[in-house]
Every structure is written in C-alpha cells, then in structure tokens.
Amino acid sequence: MQPATRVVQSVANEVVPGVVDSIDVNDVVQQVDFQKVIESVDLNAVLAEVDLDALLARADLNALLEQIDLDELIERLDVEAVLKKVDLNSLLERVDLNEILEKVDINALMDKIEVERLLERVDLNTVVARVDIDALMQRTNVGSIIAATSTGMAGQAVDIARSQGVGLDLFAQRWTDRILRRSHSEQPGAPLLLDNEGGVALP
C-alpha cells in the first residue's frame, strides 16, 4: 500500500465512525418522500420483469393462508358489492346444471323437506280459485262421468244388458272358432284408426 493511501485510510477510520454516529438515520428517512419515490418507479415495468409463476412456486401458499384469518376477512368483505359486480347469467351459462343435478340425491333432498309444513304455507283456496274448472271439465271426461254415474236404476239395467250382450257375443264367437277350427282370440279386433286411437272419439 502507498503511504498516501495509508494516510487517507487512517483518517477515514478515524473520521467516518464519528460522522456516521452523528447522522440521525430516522431523521433522514423521515425527510425522504416515499410517495414521490414510488411514483417515480414504473411498477408495471417492474412487474413485467417478475416471473410470477416462479414466485408462486416458491411461495408456501398453505402457510400463507394459515396466517390469514378468513373469518375476519369475510366479515370485512362487502359481499353485496361483490355480487353486484358478478355477472350471474354468464356464470350460470358456464355451469352444467344437469351435471350438478345428477350429483344431487333427490330422494335425500325430499326426505329433508317437510311436506306438511310446506303445505301449511300454501293457500289451497287460492290455488283452487286459479284453476279453470270449465276448461278442466272440457279437457277431461269428469263432467260426463259425474252425469253418467248419477243415473239410477235405468242406467244400471242398461249396463247389465250391454255387458250380458258382450258376454253372449264372446260365447258365440268362441264356439264359431271351435267349429271352424280356427285360433280363438281373447277379444275381437278393431278398425285400424280405432286401434290406433285416431278414429272416432270414444268415451
């Protein structure tokens, strides 16, 4: 080492510790405008340089999540605001509801439903009031059945006569089949349209 250098080094050794001791670092830090520093930094450029995948690979997310109090986080979270931002329609479009429903045990679900309590909450009178009775009577044969069943002895006598007639028909047909030695069918055939229920309207 040169003599001059040695002199400077010895001076520095003597002076620098005193200078450093005399500097209040906190005071210096307080004088720094960090906001300006941050603003002067191009964060996007910095982030572009960062390999997030590598960073995440190195991070222990489980340990990180363990340190987070999720309950507190959720309490602080404005769920309503979050839901307002979510486009539920597009979300539902991406969801395969059939697949979800296949996983649902409907029987178990029904077991959990208290039908009695459900029915107690239903105003059946209102439901019945909304039913179009006339249309129901027209679409079904309820009206004709009520009218037909209300006939008295005459109706019963006709029922007997008709049924007896059918019995005799089948008896005669059975014997004819035997005499002609042809196979006996349990009941007679029907015209094509009636067999396919596309012909005349039967009661």
Binding site: A148, I160, G165, V166, L180, G189, P191, G199, V200, P203
Partner: protein, 171 residues
C-alpha cells in the same frame, strides 16, 4: 248385488272400439225394428187424428193405395240414415252400446249410412247369409257392412258403467 255379478266392467272397458258381436247387433236390430214400427204407428195415428179433426171427416192412411208404403219407406230411411250420419248410431244401437263407423274406424257419413241401409235386404238372401258373415269373419262385418264400407263397434261409456259397478259394490 245382482248387477255386480252380471257386469264385467274391465272386460267391457277393453272392448270399446272393437268389432261388435252378433248377439249385441241382433238385439240392437230388434229394438230398431220395434222402434220403427211403433213410432210409425204412433206418428201415423197422430196425423190421422189431426187430419180427421181438421177436415171433419174420417181419414185413414192405410186406405190409400201407395202412400202408406212410400211414407213407411221414407220413415225407415230417415230413422236409419240420419242418426247414423249425425251420431253414428240408431236408437237400438245406442241402447245396446254400438256404433257404426267407416271400415277404417273414422266417422261414417250419410252416403255410407244410406248404402248400408239399401244393402240390408241383401243380407237376408240365402237364409241370411249376409248376417252369418258376422260370425264367420274376424272383423264381424255383415254383407251390408261390406257393401257400405262400414263396421259396427262397441261404443258406450264403459268408464261410467265401471264407476256405477264400483259404487254398487260399495253398497
């Protein structure tokens, strides 16, 4: 109850729309013949009474040479064709629970009903061979049915009859 023993509602219900047998058809035919004669006699008597009352002298249709037969023939056509064309059945058929349909099962029209009626006398020829076809053929169609392009099927409100049967069983 007797009615409950004599009715087989489930069998009858299944037979609706199927080809009707000879006994039911014969019963319907007998009722129709009786109704035609009785109603003609009744209406004829009423007409005779009215004409006699209004004209002041005795009037008898049977004393006329051709008119009674012509009126009777017209009455038979009216009785047999109009109800079949309108509702598919005559009075006798309605009582027994039968219906005339087209051979394929569609509604029979007036023309088919008229042809069927005009062909009816042919079924009486050769000891009623036309009627025996009801037994011999699988589709139970008589000669006049074949000529008219029609068929006769069971058709009554067997469901109502079944309900009556069940109600009687409950008594």
């Amino acid at each position: 109850m007797t009615a409950a023993r004599n009715v087989v509602p489930d069998r009858d219900l299944k037979l609706q729309g199927h080809y009707a047998g000879i006994c039911s058809r014969f019963a319907g035919f007998v009722i129709d013949v009786a109704a035609i004669v009785l109603l003609y006699d009744l209406i004829g008597s009423a007409v005779q009474f009215l004409v006699s009352t209004l004209s002041g002298h005795q009037f008898r249709i049977n004393e006329l040479p051709v008119l009674p037969w012509l009126l009777f023939a017209l009455w038979v056509v009216l009785y047999c064709v109009y109800p079949v064309a309108a509702g598919g059945r005559t009075l006798g058929m309605a009582i027994v629970g039968l219906r005339v349909v087209r051979a394929d099962g569609a509604h029979a029209n007036a023309k088919q009903a008229l042809v069927r009626l005009l062909a009816l006398p042919l079924s009486f020829v050769l000891l009623g061979f036309g009627f025996w076809l009801i037994l011999l053929r699988r589709d139970n169609r008589a000669l006049h049915d074949r000529i008219g392009g029609t068929a006769v099927v069971y058709n009554w409100d067997a469901r109502a009859a079944r309900l009556r049967f069940l109600a009687n069983q409950g008594d």
